[in-house]
């Protein structure tokens, strides 16, 4: 399995991960190598095997729909890099100056 720089850039964009030029090249090599090791799995025929996402035998864990205490707003916002009027503040996402033009 050999990745291209374009592959690395595509995945980095999906992951919202800013990478420098050298980082991209190093990741291209390392990920290609790791994916090469992972190809070992191709030798197993899994056509008839169901997937396992988790191993516990619990399903639909429910609780009564009751109002419980939650953290005070000030405590939740205390670590926020930017806040306005009790909200997390971010750059505009739709329209206006500084808004994202690429919604992908």
């Amino acid at each position: 399995m050999s990745l291209s720089i374009a592959d690395v850039e595509h995945v980095a964009a999906l992951a919202r991960l800013g990478l420098g030029r050298e980082e991209k090249e190093r990741l291209r090599e390392q990920l290609s190598s790791i994916l090469g090791h992972i190809e070992l799995l191709d030798e197993i025929d899994t056509a008839a095997i169901p997937p396992t996402a988790q191993v516990i035998e619990l399903a639909n864990v429910l609780r009564p729909d009751e109002v419980c205490p939650s953290l005070p707003r000030a405590a939740v916002l205390a670590n926020a890099p930017r806040q306005v009027d009790g909200f997390f503040a971010v750059r505009a996402v739709l329209g206006g100056p500084g808004a994202d033009t690429d919604p992908s």
Binding site: A12, L17, G18, I38, L40, V55, I56, N79, P81, R82
Partner: protein, 499 residues
């Protein structure tokens, strides 16, 4: 008791920093020691040793002293619990309201959680003393603590060697007498492998046995919190304090929690116990000294009366590849929360998207980026079936291997890691070489079963570790086996030869 071990380390002394938690409990209750004295002894040892060993990211001296004073009051009132006044190291991916929680990452430098992890709440309620937040590979991704964004912890048995990882900080702290007990997390071996490298006991409980609420999530279907201790009995004590269902973690299990300490009370006669040994764990690259020590431990278990039974775990060789799809895939989703908006580092830029990219690009270290990239790739359109779903199917096969083996045996024994602690810097250039040190621990996470690492001797002056795997929710059996083995040997009475 074996005599060859006399050459390695020194015998445990009567100092509080050498005693087991159970012996500290006895002396605290008998008023032979106060919690304040015990805590001061540990803080003094941290002050003396930690500038070199670097087990802790944050030492919580003020918190510890206040907790020790409260513990002494509680003991005086006759209301002490098993852990009242016992000093504990917490891995720095467990949320605490009274010390920063960084996951050893620049993206969380200075982060103060508004809530405690459930395990922290339980220990607080029990009167434990928190010595500090211990080092880890960044976001628990690694096998040596060399991926900590802050510094590498040194192995107390040989300071040129790694302590293992990711929970190298708490493992080394317990080994060095910088904590009586430790809490770590284990996603692919991150408790058992460093316990093995540092010559202490480490337990990954069954998935769901311990609440993960307040553990910074790495791979949510694999992560589990568990104890470090100097004896199996101490690990049982700590497991009992943290186990049980929690409304804050919907994946925590409603299984009743047995009295783990009581499970150790019987004699060491293992007649009637069937222990599996799998040829698949005899891999290329296993060090001769590790193999010899583990073989001798299996022989000792047989001497104690256990029946040794060959079992087959044919999909073992696929576990590592399966893990390196599943864990990064889950990590890539979990770590999307570090976006520079809610907490942690924020590199504000022209657009929100650029803020995300620059914050994450500057805040995450190389291994974390590697895993986010690998996981995002495995989940991306066009590759999801070939990688992620394929890995989930192989996970089914790995779990079936264990289901079939455990139909015939009560436990399975294997080495904890194929090597002893390796030199600092030896594996940092090749990520896959680093991943190989978890080849024996990963299958238990994939299957969700419990695994106990117990010291089983030394090779080249460094600790070797026996891993005992159990049936789901049957920690009691592996603790009983580990305790019986430990009592028949002297390994856990040795301490590294530090000042």
């Amino acid at each position: 008791m074996a005599t060859a071990l006399d050459a390695v380390g020194r015998p445990a002394t009567d100092a509080p920093t050498d005693l087991s938690a159970a012996e500290l409990r006895r002396r605290l209750d008998a008023r032979e020691l106060s919690a304040a004295e015990v805590t001061e002894a540990y803080l003094a040892r941290i002050a003396a040793l930690d500038p070199d060993l670097r087990c802790y990211i944050t030492v919580m001296a003020d918190v510890a002293r206040a907790q020790a004073a409260a513990a002494d009051d509680r003991i005086a009132r006759g209301e002490a619990g098993p852990l009242t006044g016992i000093p504990v190291a917490l891995k720095d991916n467990l949320c605490t309201t009274d010390a920063d929680t960084t996951a050893a990452s620049n993206i969380l430098r200075g982060f103060r959680s508004p809530y405690d992890a459930t395990v922290v709440t339980r220990l607080r309620g029990g009167g434990a003393v928190f010595l500090g937040k211990a080092n880890t590979d960044e976001f628990a991704m690694g096998s040596s603590t060399e991926n900590s964004a802050f510094f590498t912890t040194r192995n107390p048995w040989h300071t040129g060697r790694v302590p293992g990882g990711s929970s190298g900080g708490p493992a080394a702290a317990v080994a060095a007498g910088e904590a009586a007990l430790g809490l770590g997390s284990d996603t692919g071996g991150s408790i058992r492998q460093p316990a093995g490298f540092c010559g202490v006991v480490g337990l990954k409980p069954t998935y769901g046995r311990v609440s993960r609420y307040g553990l910074l999530a790495f791979a949510s279907s694999l992560d589990q919190i568990g104890p470090f201790a100097r004896t199996v009995a101490d690990a049982a004590l700590l497991l009992g304090a943290i186990a049980g269902q929690d409304p804050m973690d919907a994946t925590s299990a409603p299984e009743p929690v047995p009295d783990f300490a009581a499970a150790l009370a019987g004699d060491a006669d293992l007649r009637g116990v069937r222990i599996g040994v799998a040829a698949e764990y005899d891999v290329d690259g296993m060090e001769a000294g590790v193999k010899a020590a583990v073989d001798a431990a299996v022989g000792r278990l047989a001497d104690l009366g256990a029946e040794i039974v060959p079992v087959r775990l044919p999909h073992t060789k696929y576990a590592l590849a399966t893990y390196y799809i599943t864990a990064p895939a889950e990590a890539s989703a979990n770590l999307s929360r570090y976006d520079g908006v809610k907490y942690g580092l924020s590199v504000e830029s022209e657009t929100l998207r650029e803020t995300y990219e620059r914050t994450r690009g500057e805040g995450f270290g190389a291994e974390v980026k590697r895993r986010i990239m690998l996981g995002t790739y495995a989940l991306s359109s066009g590759y999801y079936d070939a990688y992620y779903v394929k890995a989930q199917k192989v996970r089914t096969l790995i779990k079936r291997d264990f289901d079939q083996a455990f139909a015939r045996v009560d436990a399975i024994v294997a080495p904890t890691s194929p090597t002893v602690a390796f030199p600092i810097g030896a594996r940092t250039d090749d990520p896959y070489q680093m991943y190989l040190s978890d080849v024996f621990t990963i299958p238990a996470n994939m299957a969700g079963i419990p695994g106990l690492a117990v010291p089983c001797g030394f090779a080249d002056g460094l600790p070797v570790s026996l891993q005992i795997l159990g049936k789901p929710f049957d920690e009691a059996t592996i603790l009983r086996l580990g305790h019986a083995y430990e009592q028949s040997e002297g390994w856990t009475d040795r301490r590294p030869d530090l000042p």
